[in-house]
Every structure is written in structure tokens, then in C-alpha cells.
Amino acid sequence: MLTGRTALLPRQLHPGAWWLWALGLVAAATRTLNPLLLLLILAAAAYVVTARRTDAPWARSFAVFFKLALVVLAVRFVAQVLLGVAAGETVLVTLPQLPLPDWAAGVAVGGAVTLESVVAAFTDGLQLATILACIGAANALANPKRLLAAVPAALYEVGVAVVVALSFAPSLVTSVQRIRAARRLRGRPDRGLRSLVSVALPVLEEALERSIALAASMDSRGYGRRAEVSAATRRLTGTSTLLGLLGIAVGIYGVLDATSPPVLGLPTLLAGLVLAGGGLVLGGRRAVRTRYRPDPWTAPEWITAGSGLAAAVLVIVGGVIAPEALAPSTHPLVVPPLPLLPTVGVLLALLPAWLTPPPELLVRDVRRERAVAATSTSTKVGT
């Protein structure tokens, strides 16, 4: 166990911890329509991101997700104003209404816009926006590729496939741009849809060539080496994984469907999880891979994951105690209260901003380094 002081030396936190934390906040957000709580969750996520993100390329994704969240909010708002059926009495404006046939009941184009329905739409949109922002926070704080590297050994191949696909997309975009620009050199238009279609063949050919080169490189660097495993173990692995997955499927169905017998619920789900887990562990025996500098899971990781979980649990418990505080009525309109338990829960999710190690700045000032390199080369040339 690390002591308190070494645990807080700068390093990257385990990506899994950030994802658990963010998922805890997501779970909390799905349980409430209280705009104050939602804004509090949003603020907590944003604060932790600013305090603990690196300067790596993926760290910018919070801003991207945040903008997406604002778009969602705006769309929800506009849809309500233009298309929603108004509820409540406080009419703000009345838009000219388009008469619609009977079968389109429930949709109204134009018509009265009431304060109640606008507030309801706003909280709805805010909930979705908060969920998006929490996912963005996880993306910004944890390198998505490191997260994939932490999957169990048996799932390693799947992880690699995803990583390769992720790095493939940007290079595909560059080759489309390059080849499309080259059309200009042949005297053909380099803008418009037709130019995009005609470059499909060269782009695909290049992509194919690149993936073959990558496969050759991976093969010659030992990808896919296998340890010898007895036939019995292999069979056991397959059986337990299959039964486990079946158990999980049935168990989830049982948990969600209130009319099914209780045995099909939680017990089946747990048994399925255990079996599938066993299958993964056994399957991992075939892989000879080791991991270079795996991310440790120590106190800060527990705190981070725990604080996310606490937020979720306290919001859920708060909802059981006082359901109306989590979903304040919009019709009639009331001032939303700030329930104690859920508020404390969300505030707990702020803890990682102080109780985790600060990140090492991964990408140093590249331009400055390049300048230094350039001067050293030119002095070499000069002498």
C-alpha cells in the first residue's frame, strides 16, 4: 500500500477509475429531473476535469461534448416551442398554429407556448446534456486507448481491433483530403460530391495496403503468440463463458421484468457473472502477453471510483426518501428544492479534484523543443 504522500505524486490515474466515477455521475443524473441537482452535477464534472486533465489530444474532448450538450439543450427547447403540446396556464406567447388532422394528435405545430412546458423541456434537455457532459469528462480524463489496454487478457484481440480502428479513422480522413486535393492537379474540380465519390477507389486501396502493412508488422512482432493449453481447459473455457453470458442475459431480463419469478432475477445474474468471469480468467491463460507499466489501482483510484458510486447511491436513496424533491413538479410550477442527501452525494464527486495525483503533462511544449532541436542542428551545420 502506498503511503499518503507517494500516492499523490504526479501520475496518470487508472482510466477505469475515471470511467467508474463518470458512470456514477451519469447514474445520478438519470435519476433526477431537478435542475439544481443537474447543474450541480455538471459543475462537479467540469471542475474535476479542469483540475485533473492533461494536455493530451483527447483531453480536449470535454469541450466538444459540452458543446454537443448545449446543442441537445437547444434542440429540445426549440422542439418544445414549435412542436410540443402546451401544458399549464402561464402562456408566454402564442404562435400561429397549423391545423393538423386527427391522427396527428399529440403533435401541434405552433400554438400557445406556456412557461410550464418550456421549463419541463428545459429540465429534460438538461438531463440529457448532463449525461453527455459526464461521458465527455471521462473521455477527457482517461486515455480511451489505455482503457482498452486494461481489458482482460482473453479480450485482448478485441481491444487491439478497436485501437487499430480508432487510429485508422483520422488517417483515412487525411488520405481522402490529400487525394481529393490532387484532383485539382488533373484539372478536375476538387469540390463537390462527385469529387468525393471518385476518390473512393484510391482511398480504399491505400487503406487496404496500410492495414496489410500493419498486420505484417504485428505478426512479425509476435502478435498472436499462444501458450499451449490442454483441450480440456479449452472446452471448459468455452462452456463457462457461454453459460455465463446466457445467465447474464436471463438475469437482466429477470431483474427488469417485475412479473418473472425472483429466481430468474438477481441470483441468475450473479451466477452468470461468476461463470463468465471464470471463462475470461481461463481464456487469459492462453495468452502469453504481459503488460508494460500497467496502471496501478491504489487509494486514489478507490477514492475516485467510490466518490462516483457515492453520488449515485445517495441520489438514489434520496429519491426513495423524498421522490418529489428529485422530480419537482413543473405543473403547477414550483421552485425546485435542494434535497440534502443527493446534494452531499454530488459534492462528494468533487473529491477527486483534490484527492487524486495531479497528471504529468504528457506532451511537452513541442514547438519549443523543435526550436531547440533546430538551433542545435544549425550550429552543427555552422561549425
Binding site: 493530451a56 489530444p57 486507448k145 487491439v160 485501437v163 487499430v164 487510429s167 490529400r178 487525394i179 486535393a181 490532387a182 484532383r183 485539382r184 492537379l185 488533373r186 484539372g187 478536375r188 474540380p189 476538387d190 471518385s198 476518390v199 477507389l201 484510391p202 486501396e205 495496403e209 496500410r210 502493412a213 500493419l214 498486420a215 505484417a216 508488422s217 504485428m218 505478426d219 512479425s220 512482432r221 509476435g222 502478435y223 498472436g224 503468440r225 502469453v288 502477453r289 504481459t290 503488460r291 508494460y292 507499466r293 500497467p294 504529468e360 504528457l362 506532451v363 511537452r364 513541442v366 523543443e369 533546430a374 542542428t377 544549425s378 551545420v381
Partner: protein, 548 residues
């Protein structure tokens, strides 16, 4: 260490075998250089060492290939990963992870080495290849030379006894190539790694080789021997060797340093003579630094700055190109050479300053009109090829340029004689593809031709042909601007050289004046004979009145 016994390799869809009855034995700790023309089967030979041929590529291999006692028949590439490290031509396409440190560890992770061993070997490799400052850097931020060193490092961490490299320096500028070769040299000397290396740019590597294997490519047996033996009778040789041949030096010099020690005698023979041929004599007269745009110029840049993202790729560049002039654009990777060419065809719009091509700004010209003023052969010539056959490509080029049908085909016949009409353009060799794209671009008869790294992947013969083409175009009045790392080509064809550094013009003048005395950009002959103003073997040979 590496043994080929009676190896014949035939690819699945080929009528004739690529390699026939190859016998090759590379001893431990040897640096063995594989030379041969494009398409002669060099890459096949290299890829057979770790079993990529035929396990990965398909085809049949008769005979036996063993590495360190392991037969590739029974060991697929992944089972040889701890014995053979393979570095491909383009390191970028072989990277699996996204940062330097992770990439170095990848091979070891696959082999299942314990964590402390991995940690130690990564540190050792970072030091060995001088990569320690880049350890956390994302791979896409590396320069070409750094990338190549990371690729070498990533296969070295598994401690292979054999390292196989396919054209490791062909895409690099001279300083970056030296960086990579110095690293290789260290591996051979300090770690006793056996290296098998294919390279077109003999002038860069031959001095480091213990043995040269020449792959004839027409089914005849391989020649193997000391570099001197092979080069004495080889039709292609680096300039320093050719200089040794015409000066009748024995033993032949392989490096500039060898030749330099014999040079005083040659300089004496050349004293009083002046280079009569060569670009400095037939090229345009020396050009003033600042030229105003007049209509005698084919193209002009006036205080042009170009911004790419947050990077200022060109800063306040002035350049004017006159008809019949051949200008070499040099500078390290990322200095702004390609950006300058792209600006001249309007792919980039300058942030400040003006660009004129034929009296107009290229970025405002319609693509159809632009074609008649300027032609660019991009770094990847294949970018310009869309059709399914050579004939269709030529017909499309005629239509694009509004030229008479058959114009492109006639040009192609002049550049690459005897190319089959039905061949798919993307399956041609590098040299043939370059010829085809050149023919396509020249169909519109532009007064200005731009070439971006034209010699990448070309063997000596293809390069010679390119030099001839450029010279005859210039003689007909076409202005040619070529961005290149190939100092030998620049010395041979360019009358004027412009050196860019960090987007600024740092030198502009007659090639002779610019490159003589520059450690990075001087051709080998200039390095040997400096301070006398000789640049090419051809010029020296003519002065001495012997045939090279």
C-alpha cells in the same frame, strides 16, 4: 546466422518465380547490404528471412530458410519475433500503439516478458537510439528520422540477433538518414547484431557494409562479395566510386573519407580546368535575391507567408522562376518545401503576400485552366491515378487537358518506353508510375513543372532517366522546380538551389555556390574535391576526357 539454401519463391498469381535457387549465408555480426533494381525481388528476399514470405503473403517457397537454426517452414513470423526484427519501408504503417514508450514495449508484451525486464530494456533502447527525450511523445508528432529510429527501437527491445531493414533511409533528408545509419552502426559494433539491409541510395550506406549482395532480378544467381568487388563491375555505383573508377584509383574508395585522401592528386590534374558541362554552365545566369514579378517569369512568390493550422509553414518567401530554369528546393523534412509547391498550384492560399503563376493567382484559377500553367507531381504520384488501366488513364489525361487524343500516350512512350496499355496503373513499379504521372501532367504542356520528392524509391537507372527528362524539358524552355533530398540529383540537373529552413529561404543562388561547403547538401564529388567547384562525376570525366 541467416541461411538460404536453394530457395525459390513463387507468388501465387505469378507465372515466373521471383527468386530462383538463392543461396545466401550471412554470418553473425555482419552488416549485409542488398542491392538491385526496383522489382528485382529484394523485398521478397528480406521478407523471407522472418517467414512473412510465404506465411503471410502466400505463394510457395522451395528450399530452406533458417535463422539462428530455426526453419521458417515450421516457424511462422510471430514465433521468430525474438530472433528477427523487421523494419518496413514506411515505419508509420507498422506502428501499433500511439506513444514512443508504448511502441518500444509492444514486442516485449507480445512475447510475455516480465515487467522489470521490459522496463529496463525500454530505458536501454531509449538511450541506445537517443530517443530518451521523446519517450512520452505521440508517434504522429515525430519527424521522419525519429520515426525510423523508433521503428528500429521497437524491434530491438526483444533483443533479436538479426535486424532486417527495407530501405530505411529512402524517405529521409540527409541529416536524418545519417542519424539512422549512425544508430545502426552502433548496433553492429556494440551489440553484434546481424543486419540485412536493402537500400537504393548506395552512396549513403555502402561504406558501412561488410558485404554486398546484388539481386539481378532476372532469375540469375545472386552475386555476393565485398563492397569493392561488387561495385567495381556494377553498372550502378555511388558517385564517389565512379569518381574512383575514372581517376583509376585502386583500391576503390567507398566513402568520402577514403576518396578525400586520394583527392589532392586528382585536384592537381584538374587544376586550371573548369566544369564545362553541368547545370552551372548551361543553367540560367545567377539570379538576384529580390526579383519583381514581370511577365518573363513563369511564376513568382512575393513576400509569401503560409499558415497551416497554428504553424507558419512559409515566412516571407520571395522566389521567381524563369523559363528553362531548373531550381532545386532543399531543406530538412518539414522545412516548407512541399508547402511552397502546393502554394504554387493553389492548394494553399497564402496568408500574406502574392503568388503569380502565368500572371494570375493560382488559388483563384479554375482547375481546368490551372493545368495549362503549372503541373505538379506530388510526393505520392499514385494520388493522381484513378483509372483502371494505363490506356484509360492516358485517354482521361487528354480529355482533362483538352489535348489531341494520343498526346499523353506519345509522351509516355518517350518517358517509359514499352509500357503495356492494359496494366493497372497502381501496380506499376515506382519508376514506371512516376513516368506515367509525368506524362499525364505534361499532356497539358505547362510552362512550369513542379516535382515533389521525385526520386523516392527510384533506383539509379530510373533516376538517371529522370535527370535526362528534366534536362531535356529545361532545354525546351519548361521551368522545373524540384523539392528533393537527393543532393546528387540536384547537383546533376539544377542550375539553381534554394535552401529552406523553418519556412524561410536561407540560401538562393547557383547550385555550385550553395552546395559546395555545405556538409548536409554537398554531393559526394563536391565533398571530395572541395574547394574546387566540381559537382558531378560527369563534369570531372569530361574535363579529364575519359568516359565514366
Amino acid at each position: 546466422m541467416i541461411d538460404f539454401e536453394q530457395v525459390t519463391i513463387t507468388y501465387a498469381d505469378a507465372r515466373t518465380p521471383t527468386l530462383v535457387d538463392v543461396d545466401l549465408h550471412v554470418a553473425e555480426g555482419e552488416l549485409c547490404l542488398v542491392v538491385g533494381r526496383t522489382g528485382s525481388g529484394k523485398s521478397t528476399l528480406l521478407r523471407a528471412v522472418n517467414g512473412l514470405v510465404p506465411h503471410f503473403t502466400g505463394g510457395t517457397l522451395a528450399g530452406r530458410v533458417t535463422v539462428d537454426g530455426r526453419d521458417t517452414r515450421t516457424h511462422p513470423p510471430r514465433e521468430l519475433a525474438d530472433v528477427v526484427g523487421v523494419v518496413g519501408q514506411d515505419p508509420r504503417s507498422g506502428f501499433v500503439t500511439d506513444s514512443v514508450e508504448q511502441e518500444l514495449a509492444y514486442g516485449m508484451e507480445s512475447l510475455g516478458l516480465p515487467g522489470d525486464v521490459m522496463r529496463r530494456r525500454v530505458e536501454e533502447t531509449l538511450d541506445l537510439l537517443g530517443l530518451h527525450e521523446l519517450r512520452a511523445r505521440p508517434l504522429e508528432q515525430l519527424s521522419g528520422g525519429q520515426r525510423q529510429r523508433v521503428a528500429i527501437g521497437s524491434v530491438l527491445t526483444t533483443h533479436p540477433s538479426v535486424l532486417v531493414l527495407d530501405e530505411p533511409t529512402s524517405a529521409l533528408d540527409p541529416p536524418a538518414a545519417e542519424e539512422v545509419l549512425a544508430a545502426l552502426q552502433r548496433l553492429v559494433h556494440d551489440l553484434g547484431v546481424t543486419v540485412l539491409l536493402a537500400e537504393h541510395r548506395l552512396e549513403r550506406v555502402v561504406q558501412y557494409a561488410d558485404r554486398v549482395v546484388s539481386v539481378p532480378g532476372d532469375g540469375r544467381a545472386l552475386h555476393a562479395g565485398s563492397p569493392e568487388q561488387i561495385l567495381r563491375h556494377s553498372p550502378v555505383a555511388p558517385p564517389v566510386v565512379e569518381l574512383g573508377r575514372i581517376a583509376r584509383w585502386d583500391p576503390l574508395p567507398l566513402s568520402v573519407r577514403d576518396a578525400r585522401r586520394r583527392a589532392p592528386e586528382l585536384r592537381e590534374r584538374l587544376a586550371g580546368l573548369h566544369p564545362s558541362t553541368g547545370p552551372s554552365a548551361n543553367g540560367a545566369a545567377p539570379v538576384d535575391r529580390v526579383v519583381t514579378a514581370t511577365h518573363t517569369e513563369v511564376a513568382a512568390l512575393e513576400s509569401v507567408s503560409v499558415q497551416l493550422g497554428s504553424l507558419l509553414a512559409l515566412r516571407d518567401v520571395d522566389l521567381a522562376v524563369r523559363p528553362g530554369e531548373v531550381v532545386a528546393l532543399m531543406g530538412r523534412n518539414g522545412a516548407g518545401k512541399s508547402t511552397l509547391l502546393h502554394t504554387l498550384v493553389g492548394l494553399r492560399t497564402p496568408r500574406a503576400g502574392t503568388v503569380h503563376v502565368g500572371g494570375q493567382a493560382p488559388s483563384t484559377m479554375a482547375p481546368g485552366a490551372l493545368l495549362r500553367h503549372v503541373g505538379l507531381v506530388p510526393q505520392e504520384p499514385a494520388d493522381l491515378l484513378y483509372a483502371a488501366s494505363v490506356a484509360a488513364e492516358c485517354a482521361a489525361a487528354d480529355a482533362d487537358a483538352g489535348a489531341e487524343p494520343g498526346t499523353c500516350r506519345t509522351l509516355l512512350e518517350r518517358l517509359v518506353p514499352g509500357l503495356d496499355d492494359d496494366r493497372p496503373p497502381r501496380d506499376l513499379s515506382e519508376g514506371q508510375r512516376l513516368g506515367l504521372v509525368l506524362a499525364i501532367v505534361l499532356t497539358a504542356n505547362p510552362p512550369l513543372l513542379l516535382l515533389d520528392e521525385p526520386t523516392r524509391g527510384l533506383d539509379y537507372r530510373a533516376k538517371e532517366r529522370l535527370a535526362g527528362i528534366v534536362a531535356s524539358l529545361a532545354a525546351e524552355g519548361t521551368a522545373v522546380v524540384l523539392a528533393t533530398h537527393d543532393v546528387e540529383l540536384a547537383a546533376e540537373v539544377a542550375g539553381r538551389t534554394v535552401v529552406l529552413a523553418d519556412g524561410e529561404v536561407v540560401a538562393d543562388g547557383p547550385t555550385q555556390g550553395v552546395v559546395v561547403g555545405s556538409p548536409a547538401f554537398a554531393p559526394q564529388v563536391a565533398k571530395v574535391l572541395a574547394p574546387s567547384p566540381w559537382l558531378t562525376v560527369g563534369a570531372v570525366a569530361e574535363a579529364l576526357e575519359v568516359l565514366p
